[in-house]
Symmetry: C2
Subunit: 342 residues, 2 copies
DNA sequence: GGCAATCTTGACACCGGTTACCATAACAAT
DNA sequence: ATTGTTATGGTAACCGGTGTCAAGATTGCC
């Protein structure tokens, strides 16, 4: 039996209004820092707010404004470090705002992926959603967001969408530069561990490798290429395939760091010295790169900055297309590369 | 969905009521599967809901029910893979519910950490929050949640709280078993790379090492111990400290996988063969363990299961203390351990 | 002093759901 | 036929904020 006495409930806008002798609407004006408001009134109300420790109810606000201050992020994690860095970047961007971040991992091989995503969008009514690779490369998913009227930004390795809906790194160029670094060291037979079929990022990275090889008159023959699917195990397999040929490469570019780690492990198991007998280059610069032996030469993706930009595109849609979309990568030389011996 | 017309606003409960010729209240009863309702009416309304693709507005629901169907998770990432596995576990648990997951990384060294967390809790009014280590070991933070009336679950390595607010692995026992494995292989001088000062998990793991050493009459002298702070770099430093002594250990237990990777890298740099000259054991079984060379023997934490349990404790508070709190770890032998040579 | 222009403020409906309470219909028991 | 009981559905108030619009207070100007 609740007495009429002190309530345990949080203070509401009505409490603030009553205690400061103004109407709810005026309190609302204070909260939203409306310009048409007497300074004295504002201070009086602010004092009461501070005293009560009043914080507006976000659900009520969302309902009245028909606007939800929550950003979403969907991913099918290819890489934990990348996802987490992204999360941190988003948090950087929303820290000074009232936005929050909802995460939603999915399984891209699930047969009801689309239904699953649809349900998620309809249920949560988010302000906007960021889509991470490889889901971001799926145009069908983007179309679903558009159909449901949910704002989105895709994070990708190529021009997947217009600038308002995209943050992008130029993987092709980044890989070209990395491979040219190897060529500059004197390598002529440079292998490629390709990413999975149908992945845009895999295609771009492959194209970058070919660009560099062709530009220097080097052959891209089949014995220099092996396909993986961005996992460690397939990196190992690709490594075995490349290293057991008649004329094995003196350097290998792997389309991501985990696969590069697989190549390194296989090489070491066979007594192939790195970087003495074989140079290895990865892509992503995730935590693993610095941690394996020897530390891996790789390409750093400015994920955190890209995440900040993606979040801002959603928070300020009117400026979305002016917000930076293209991000430069950075080549990070470490100890897994050297000039070939001969 | 029939009708390809212009996409109006989303259907509301009123639309459903009008089209099915019943009142809002009846529709609400259908949505909440109230038992006192005519079967025919229910089916009629359900048909209209399906046709319209109606989904109740979560903000309005949250407001009316005074209850928010969102779970939160705060962490100061010590380990990306762990955080992500945890997220996936939570998603497992909420997949069939209407709950969503909000994430909130923080910096535990920030001077206004407490204010930051307070603001987060007050602003979001979550249904409950999961706290990951090392933040979970901070009693002050737990007290803040209690003070603000926000339900929480801590994830930890020891009995930090009552079962309703805790999911726990027994790190001490897990480490004891891992070290006894080394002893069983014939090792006598077994080094410890300790975790950072003040961390409960670090203390527990250290205690487990001592338990095993003492139980077998082995000395825990200072030259066998070095402290790190759970980062790769400090793992390297600790490795150098342990391996440059007069009588270096033949095996090293590192309190987490990244530090173990640091030890491995340092050893390989100095031509110390692993596992021939030195066995190394880690803790966590994060992705890195399987990926370095040689693959790391370690202890697997059932993070995903723990996360599921934590989420269920929050979703069903009435059953929270009956939900599993204690989780067993699993010893994972790989190629970084072997019997000492001599 | 009178009147318009501008600044402040509050009454009230509304966002999209929920519950409390009441009204009616159907059906059984007396 | 009257009454009691149980199903079922309607009405209105409410959750805690917001927009609209107009009234009241101030000010400027002739």
């Amino acid at each position: 039996m609740a007495g009429k006495g002190k309530r345990e409930n949080k203070p509401t806008i009505n409490d603030v209004a009553r205690l400061s002798g103004v109407s709810k609407k005026t309190v609302s004006r204070v909260i939203n820092s409306s310009p048409l408001l007497n300074q004295a009134t504002r201070e009086k109300v602010e004092a009461v707010i501070a005293e009560l420790g009043y914080v507006p109810n976000p659900q009520a606000r969302a309902l009245a404004l028909r606007r939800n201050f929550v950003l979403g992020m969907i991913y099918d994690n290819p890489n934990a470090q990348m996802v987490l860095n992204f999360q941190e970047g988003v948090l950087d961007a929303i820290r000074t705002t009232e936005f929050a971040l909802l995460v939603h991992p999915v399984d891209r091989h699930s047969p009801d992926l689309m239904d699953h995503i649809r349900r998620f969008i309809e249920l949560q009514r988010l302000h906007g959603v960021m889509i991470l690779p490889p889901l971001s490369e799926n145009d069908e998913i983007a179309a679903l967001f558009a159909e449901l009227g949910c704002n989105y930004v895709r994070m990708g390795s190529a021009e997947l969408d217009d600038p308002a809906h995209l943050v992008q790194s130029d993987d092709r160029d980044a890989v070209r530069r990395a491979v040219e670094y190897l060529i500059g060291q004197g390598h002529r037979r440079i292998g490629l561990v390709e990413g999975p079929e149908g992945f845009r990022s895999a295609m771009e990275r492959c194209a970058g490798w070919k660009d560099a090889m062709n530009a220097h008159g080097l052959d891209c023959d089949d014995t220099l290429m092996a396909r993986g699917n961005y996992t460690f195990e397939t990196g190992r397999e690709a490594g075995i395939a490349l290293l057991t040929g008649a004329e094995p490469p003196t350097a290998i570019f792997a389309s991501n760091d985990v696969m590069a780690a697989g190549v390194v492990q296989v090489a070491l198991e066979r007594g192939i010295n790195i970087p003495g007998d074989l140079s290895v280059v990865g892509f992503d610069d995730t935590a693993i790169a610095a941690v394996i032996s020897p530390p891996l030469t790789t390409v750093r993706w400015p994920i955190r900055l890209m995440a900040q930009s993606a979040a801002r595109k959603l928070i300020y849609p009117e400026a979305a297309s002016k917000e930076q979309s293209q991000f430069a990568t950075e080549f990070v030389p470490r100890a897994s590369t050297a000039s070939p011996k001969n």
